[in-house]
C-alpha cells in the first residue's frame, strides 16, 4: 500500500495542472462570452480572409 505515498502526490500534481489550465483559460477571457462560441460551432468550415 505504500505506493499511495507516490500516487497521491502524483494525483495532486495532476489536479494542480488542471487547476492551472482552468485559471489560464479564465484569465485569457475564454469564459467572458458564453453565447457566441455556441453559435460559431454550428457554422460550416470555409476559408475566412484572403
Amino acid at each position: 500500500m505504500s505506493v499511495l505515498y507516490l500516487l497521491i502526490p502524483l494525483a495532486l500534481v495532476l489536479a494542480a495542472v488542471a487547476a492551472w489550465a482552468c485559471v489560464y483559460a479564465i484569465k485569457s477571457g475564454q469564459f467572458a462570452d458564453l453565447d457566441t462560441p455556441a453559435e460559431r460551432i454550428l457554422w460550416d468550415d470555409e476559408p475566412v480572409g484572403r
Partner: protein
C-alpha cells in the same frame, strides 16, 4: 442553400422575414434598406446568412447611409482605437441590430468583404465587435460604411473604468470558484479514505498522512478563495454590522483551527472536508448571483447614446462630417431631419420642428426658426437646419444632467439585506449556545467540552443561510431577464416589499411616445394618393401615415414641401396635405366640426384633392394599449398611481382623467429637478417608471427606478431595472418577480434556520461527528438550492 430557407411566407420580406408593409419594394422586400442589404449579401456570396437566420425573422435595422468620416478623425482614433505591436489597428465597436448567430456569422465574414481587414470577432451578448485591420490597406471609415451597409450601424464602444473593473472582478470570482472546487474535491477524496479507514482499521501511518494531506489543502482553500469571507467579516466588524460573512468566517476558522490542533496532536476529530465544501458552495452561490446581475452594467457611455458621434460642420457653406469631440463653440452644424442635435446652440438658418421629449417630456413637436435655442439630444423632425454651437459634449445641458445623475447614483447606499439582519442575531445566538454547551459539558472534562463547542460552531456555520439570498435572487434575476426585464441587483426585490407610490412618466411611458394617426375622416381610396404624396419624406407625419396604412402608394410627381404642408400631383390628381388654416375653405363643410371634436387634443391635418376638401386626419400620442389595465392592476395591489411629466399640465390632466387617476397626483410641466423633488417628498416606497433623460434624476432617486425601452438609453445606467420589452406590463412582471423572490428568500431562511436548530441540538447532545457534519451541511445547502429554483416564477 436548403429549400427550407427559401420557403418564407409569400408576403414576407426576403431579407428580414417581416410582413411587407406600405414601404415594400417590388413585392419582395419590406423596405429599401432590406433590399440593399440583400443585394450586398448576394453580390458578396454571403447567402449563407439566410440559412443561419431564424425562420420567424426579426426587424432588421436599416442602413443609415452615413459617411463615417468622423471615424477617420485622428481625435476619434486616439479616443477609441488601439495599435497592436505588429502594426495593425484594432477597435471595439458596438453594433446596432445584432440579434442572433447569423449576425455574428455575417460580421465575422468582414475580412472577405474588405481587403485589409485582418479579423472581426463579435460578442453577441454585448453586440461588441473586435475589428482588426491593416491601416495601409483600408481605413476605419471604410469598415464602418461596410458594416452600415450590411445593416449593423457601428458606434465606438468605450468600456468605462467601472466596466473594466467589473470584468476583472468577474474573472477573479471565477478563478476563486475554480480553485475552491479543485481543493474541495481533493480534500473530500482524502476524507473519504479517512472515513472508510475508520471502519476498516487503517494503519496509523496512513491515517496521519491523510490528515496532514487534508490540512495541506484546506489552508490554501481558506486563505485563498475563502479570503473573501474573512475580508467581508472583518469589514463588517469594523463597521459594527454583523453580516452573514461573520458567522461563516467563525465556522470556517473554528473548523480550521480545531483541525490544525488535532492534526498536530494526532488525536481528535478534523472537519477539513466540511470547511472546504463550505467555501466552495458559498462561492458557487455568490458567483451565480453575480452572473445574473451583470446585465445592467453593460451600458457604456450614456452620453454617447444620446448625442451622435458624428456631426456635420458647415465650413464655407460646405457640410463635412466630423467627429463630435472636434466641434467647438461657434461652429455651424447642419442637422438633417431624423437626426439628433449634437450640440446646444441657436438655429442660424432654416425652420423645422424639434422633438425634445427625451429632454423635457413635451410630446408636441416644437417649431423652431432662426434664433430659437435647440439642445443636444433632441431630434430634428422636419427640415434641415443650421445651428450655431454654444456648448458641446459634456458642457451641454444633457451632458450636465447625466453627470449629475451618475454622481448621485454613485453616492447611493446599499440597503441591508434580510439575510444580513438575520445573520447578526444568528452570530450572537450561536456564540451564546457554544458557551452554554461548553459549560454544560465542563464536568466531563475541558477537552471534551471544547470539542463539543467547536463542533457546534462548525455545524451551525450558516452555509444554507448564506446561500439563501444569493441563490434565490440569482434565479429570480435570470428568470426576469428572460422575460425582458433586466434588474440591477437583488436589493430591488426587498425595496418593493410594501406597496407605496408609483410615479409614471407620461410621454413614452404611459403613451407611445411618437405621433400616430388617431383619427381619420375620408374615403379609403384617398389613402394611396396621400401615401404617394408623402413617399420618401422623412417628416414625422409621413411616417405616421405609412405606419397606419398598409396599402401601396401611388406614383407622385412635382411634389413640393412648404412650411404649411405638402402639395403635388399623384395619379393625375392635384393633392394638398397640411395645416387646416392653409387648406380649409372660407366655409368649412358640416363634418369638419364633428371631426375636430373627435380629434380633441390631437393635431389636425386637412387633405384636399383637386381643390376640394375631402378628408382629414388627426395626429396625437395615444396611450399604450395596456396602460389602463396596468394602472388598474397596480391599484388592486395597493399602490397609489400618479403621473410626473414635463408635458403641458393640460395634456397630463387629460391623460390622468382618461385613466381615472386622482387629479392631485397628476403633475405636469415639471423639470427634471421638480420630478426629483416630488420623489423626495414621498415617504412611502417609490417606484418610478420613465424613459427619457428628463426622468433620469428621478429614476435614480426613487426606491426603484424602472427604465423603459424605446426611450433614451441614458436612463439605463441610473435605473435599477430596465425593460427590453416595449410594454408597460413589464411593470407588473417586476412586482410579481419581486414578490416571488421575497417569498423564496423567506422560505430559504426558514429552511436553513430549521437545519441549524437541528444541528445545534445534535451538537449540544454531543452526537456530531465529522462524517455527520460532512453529510448534513451539503444536504441543507441542496434543500436551499431546490427551494430556490422556484424563485421568480410568475403566477
Amino acid at each position: 442553400m436548403t429549400p427550407a430557407a427559401v420557403a418564407a411566407p409569400p408576403d414576407a420580406c426576403l431579407h428580414c422575414r417581416q410582413p411587407l408593409g406600405s414601404t415594400q419594394v417590388d413585392g419582395r422586400f419590406c423596405c429599401p434598406g432590406c433590399a440593399s442589404v440583400h443585394a450586398l449579401l448576394q453580390s458578396q456570396g454571403l447567402e449563407t446568412y439566410y440559412r443561419l437566420a431564424p425562420e420567424e425573422g426579426r426587424p432588421a435595422p436599416r442602413p443609415t447611409g452615413r459617411e463615417y468620416a468622423d471615424f477617420d478623425d485622428p481625435l476619434f482614433w486616439t479616443r477609441y482605437g488601439r495599435e497592436l505591436p505588429d502594426g495593425t489597428c484594432a477597435i471595439d465597436l458596438r453594433l446596432d441590430g445584432v440579434h442572433c448567430g447569423a449576425c455574428a456569422w455575417l460580421v465575422e465574414r468582414l475580412p472577405r468583404v474588405i481587403p485589409g481587414v485582418e479579423s472581426a470577432r463579435l460578442e453577441l451578448g454585448r453586440a461588441r465587435a473586435d475589428v482588426r485591420w491593416d491601416p495601409r490597406r483600408t481605413s476605419l471609415g471604410a469598415i464602418a460604411v461596410q458594416l452600415d451597409r450590411m445593416g449593423y450601424p457601428p458606434h465606438p464602444y468605450r468600456a468605462d473604468a467601472a466596466e473594466s473593473a467589473d470584468e476583472r472582478e468577474d474573472r477573479a470570482a471565477l478563478v476563486r470558484l475554480a480553485l475552491a472546487g479543485a481543493l474541495a474535491g481533493n480534500v473530500m477524496l482524502m476524507a473519504f479514505a479517512l472515513y472508510s479507514g475508520e471502519l476498516a482499521s487503517m494503519s496509523p501511518a496512513f491515517r496521519s498522512a491523510f490528515r496532514w494531506g487534508c490540512l495541506a489543502l484546506t489552508l490554501p482553500a481558506v486563505f485563498g478563495p475563502g479570503r473573501v469571507f474573512l475580508r467581508g467579516a472583518w469589514a463588517g466588524l469594523r463597521a459594527r454590522s454583523l453580516g452573514v460573512d461573520v458567522p461563516v468566517s467563525l465556522g470556517m476558522l473554528a473548523g480550521l483551527i480545531a483541525g490544525l490542533v488535532n492534526t498536530l496532536r494526532g488525536v481528535g476529530d478534523i472537519y477539513f472536508d466540511t470547511v472546504c465544501v463550505l467555501v466552495f458552495l458559498l462561492l458557487c452561490g455568490r458567483w451565480l448571483e453575480r452572473r445574473q446581475r451583470r446585465h445592467l452594467a453593460k451600458v457604456g457611455d450614456p452620453l454617447q447614446t444620446l448625442i451622435p458621434t458624428q456631426a456635420r460642420r458647415v465650413v464655407d457653406g460646405e457640410p463635412r462630417e466630423v467627429f463630435r469631440d472636434a466641434l467647438r463653440v461657434g461652429d455651424t452644424v447642419r442637422v438633417l431631419p431624423g437626426e439628433r442635435f449634437p450640440v446646444d446652440g441657436e438655429v442660424a438658418s432654416g425652420r423645422s420642428e424639434v422633438d425634445a421629449s427625451v429632454l423635457t417630456g413635451e410630446s408636441r413637436p416644437q417649431p423652431v426658426g432662426p434664433g430659437s435655442p435647440v439642445f443636444a439630444g433632441s431630434r430634428n423632425l422636419s427640415w434641415p437646419v443650421d445651428v450655431s454651437a454654444q456648448a458641446a459634449g459634456e458642457a451641454t445641458r444633457v451632458g450636465k444632467l447625466l453627470e449629475a445623475v451618475t454622481r448621485d447614483a454613485r453616492q447611493k447606499v446599499r440597503v441591508v439585506q434580510l439575510a444580513d439582519r438575520v445573520a447578526s442575531v444568528f452570530v450572537v445566538v450561536v456564540l451564546a449556545l457554544a458557551a452554554a454547551v461548553a459549560a454544560a459539558w465542563w464536568s466531563h472534562g475541558p477537552s471534551l467540552a471544547l470539542e463539543h463547542a467547536v463542533a457546534l460552531l462548525i455545524v451551525t456555520c450558516p452555509c444554507a443561510l448564506a446561500l439563501a439570498t444569493p441563490l434565490a435572487v440569482g434565479v429570480a434575476l435570470g428568470r426576469a431577464a428572460r422575460r425582458g426585464l433586466l434588474i440591477g441587483d437583488g436589493s430591488v426585490f426587498e425595496r418593493l416589499g410594501t406597496p407605496g407610490q408609483v410615479w409614471l412618466d407620461k410621454t413614452g411611458t404611459l403613451t407611445q411616445g411618437r405621433s400616430r394617426l388617431v383619427v381619420w375622416e375620408g374615403p379609403e381610396a384617398l389613402q394611396p394618393l396621400v401615401l404617394g404624396l408623402e413617399q420618401g419624406s422623412t417628416h414625422q407625419l409621413a411616417r405616421a401615415f405609412r405606419e397606419a396604412w398598409t396599402c401601396g402608394p401611388e406614383t407622385p410627381s412635382d411634389v413640393t414641401h412648404g412650411p404649411q404642408g405638402v402639395e403635388g400631383t399623384v395619379a393625375g390628381r392635384r393633392l394638398r396635405v397640411g395645416a387646416p388654416a392653409w387648406i380649409l375653405p372660407a366655409e368649412a363643410p358640416a363634418w369638419w366640426s364633428g371631426f375636430l371634436a373627435r380629434a380633441g387634443d390631437a393635431s389636425p391635418v386637412a387633405i384636399e384633392v383637386d381643390g376640394e376638401l375631402v378628408g382629414a386626419a388627426a395626429f396625437g400620442d395615444p396611450l399604450r394599449p395596456d396602460a389602463q389595465q396596468v394602472v388598474d392592476a397596480l391599484r388592486e395591489r395597493g399602490w397609489e398611481v400618479g403621473i410626473l411629466s414635463g408635458d403641458y399640465p393640460a395634456a397630463v390632466a387629460a391623460v390622468g382623467a382618461q385613466l381615472g387617476l386622482d387629479p392631485a397626483r397628476c403633475h405636469g410641466g415639471l423639470s427634471p429637478e421638480d420630478k426629483l423633488a416630488h420623489l423626495e417628498a414621498t415617504d412611502a416606497p417609490t417606484l418610478m417608471v420613465g424613459d427619457g433623460v428628463n426622468d433620469a434624476l428621478a429614476l435614480s432617486a426613487a426606491s426603484v427606478g424602472l427604465g423603459l425601452r424605446g426611450g433614451a438609453e441614458g436612463t439605463l445606467t441610473v435605473a435599477h431595472a430596465y425593460a427590453t420589452r416595449d410594454e408597460l406590463a413589464v411593470l407588473l412582471d417586476l412586482l410579481d418577480v419581486a414578490a416571488s423572490a421575497r417569498r423564496t428568500v423567506r422560505r430559504n431562511l426558514k429552511l436553513s434556520l430549521g437545519y441549524n436548530v437541528l444541528a445545534a441540538s445534535l451538537a449540544a447532545a454531543g452526537w456530531i461527528s465529522p462524517l455527520l457534519a460532512a453529510v448534513l451541511m451539503p444536504l441543507s445547502s441542496l434543500t436551499v438550492v431546490g427551494s430556490s429554483s422556484q424563485a421568480g416564477r410568475l403566477p
